[in-house]
Amino acid sequence: MLDTQAASGEDGYITPDGRKIGGVAMEMRNITLRFGGVVAIKDISFDIRWGEIRAIIGPNGAGKSSMLNVISGFYHPQEGEVIYKGFRRPKMRPYQVARTGIARTFQNIALFEGMSVLDNIMTGRLHHMKANLFQQALWWGKASREEDENRAQVEKIIDFLEIQHIRKTPVARLPYGLKKRVELARALAAEPSILLLDEPMAGMNVEEKEDMCRFILDVNDEFGTTTVLIEHDMGVVMDLSDRVVVMDYGKKIGDGTPDDVRNDEEVIKAYLGVAHE
């Protein structure tokens, strides 16, 4: 990670609360995404820096989720390029993108409902397992050591997100808020370079929201995880994020610190004005 920071040749900045933000981790250059005749994203550029919490906000249908899907490889933009760790990223399938260290959660929770919480989180570590099939089947050689390491990492995350009490529970039985937390745990288990959260607090009550907020901040503090999140709750976004991209009708209409964005004429007109009155 340090190498790529150096390679990007840029220094970061210091946040108001004193955290050091690094160089550019990912840069979106002139991204345009169309579905047939509908333009979902129109010529958008922005960057994501190492260690920061970057929010994408905007009214419904602004193209936020589409943008997240471009980053995670679920959608392929017709124009523009994604620069990741200093290199232009070729067209990749979602699972290939995941293997480059980009983990995500989904707006409408995509967990393995039939598996236990522990098993779900373990799937996050699949591509950290290198032992071959026979070693794994026989628990022999590299396999058993790897399994131990992976379990240790997973237990750390389970502790961290305070879900010890449900580790053996099948996910299907969990309430909504806990499912969201398990999904976050699975994404974290991959030890991602960039963590993408698609509306991590959608549909939560106040208490659950506060918990989730705390976890996102703690994760960033503890593991230094670069986080990109989409969120509707303005209060949450302004509290959490270091920098905010504002989208409206597929276009970028604002980009900057929460304070900058809050005072931006166009942003107020498009979004905040409507939301707050």
Binding site: L111, A137, W139
Partner: protein, 328 residues
């Protein structure tokens, strides 16, 4: 010991071994259903196709020879050599893996995110296609399959039981072997799906495609893997049934016997397939033994289906299937 009890015990033993043969077929269904939510109608035909390929390779038959002869006026039919079994089986495994790749490339890839019923229809198509290809490739005549498994009455069991009870049980040695092989198969499949990365990925794909992609699992690879394993299980079932009653079209119909097994055991459980098979096997034999004198013979033809019907009424998810939870 009264004779009736002895006969019933013999029937039970025979039922157990016959049940293993049913379970072997059911296993293939469970594997694909678990991994992709598809009920693979072609499983029985895959067993037939695998057995045909094995016999064809063993006897050095030229594939598509009828077609070649018709097209070019030649009269070829055999290469003139016999492939030893220990080579022919791995070669057939390769053919089944090739088949899995083709199924993924030409069917599954184009049906991502479709309703299960559409995928089911596709497998019906595949079944008919494979049946035809099997015929054209290897010919339609009944073939004997011999991979060196022992057949006929087991003398050991006969002597042993004669010494114990004064009455020798008749057990087919082939079915004893089938039981052993099924045990090894199930053990390795369980270890594979529970303890390996690929197994975990396979279960993940079965559960949620999108989530699987997001943790870096390649759906296409997993599908090829699943269908390859199902192909190998089909080969094992094909070998066992083929050795027992010859390789012929009716082999593909054993798939029908797997249906009640699946309904009993649950479509998603490997142990369920085994236990379901055993229950059907034993139930069939015992029912026949006790009821035939009263209601007439041939109960084996319908008993399994009736039992399945009863299960559908009272426990539709099967003995080991995932519980159906209705959330309101």
């Amino acid at each position: 010991m009264p004779d009736t009890l002895l006969f019933a015990m013999e029937a039970t033993l025979n039922g157990l071994t016959a049940g293993v043969m049913y379970a072997l077929v059911a296993l293939g269904f469970v594997l694909i259903f678990k991994a992709s939510g598809i009920f693979n109608f072609a499983q029985g035909v895959m067993a037939l196709f695998a057995a045909l390929t094995l016999v064809g390779l063993q006897s050095g038959q030229i594939p598509f020879s009828h077609l070649i002869n018709a097209a070019f006026g030649t009269r070829v039919h055999h290469f003139g050599w016999n492939m030893p079994t220990f080579l022919a089986i791995p070669a057939t495994v390769l053919v089944m893996i090739g088949l899995a790749v083709l199924v993924e490339r030409f069917i599954l890839k184009h049906l991502v995110n479709q309703e299960p019923i559409i995928l089911f229809m596709a497998t019906i198509g595949l079944a008919y296609f494979l049946e035809g290809v099997g015929d054209i490739m290897w010919g339609a005549e009944v073939k004997a399959l011999d991979v060196g498994l022992p057949k006929g009455m087991s003398d050991t069991v006969d002597t042993l039981t004669y010494n114990w009870f004064g009455y020798g049980f008749y057990i087919d040695r082939l079915e004893l072997w089938a039981a052993g092989i099924a045990a090894i198969l199930v053990a390795s499949l369980t270890v594979f799906s529970q303890y390996t990365k690929q197994g975990r990925a396979l279960r993940a794909v079965a559960d949620d495609h999108q989530a699987a992609l997001s943790v870096g699992i390649s759906l296409r690879f997993i599908w090829v893997l699943t269908w390859s394993i199902a192909g190998i299980v089909a080969l094992v079932a094909g070998i066992m049934w083929g050795s027992k009653s010859g390789v012929q079209f009716s082999l593909s119909l054993i798939a029908l016997k797997a249906l009640p097994v699946l309904i009993l055991g649950g479509f998603t459980s490997i142990p369920g397939a085994i236990v379901g098979g055993l229950i059907i096997g034993v139930g069939e034999k015992l029912f026949d033994f006790f009821m035939s004198p009263i209601i007439g013979g041939a109960t084996e033809n319908w008993f399994a289906y009736m039992l399945a019907l009863v299960f559908l009424l009272f426990r539709p998810q099967g003995l080991f299937g995932e519980r159906i939870i209705e959330r309101v």
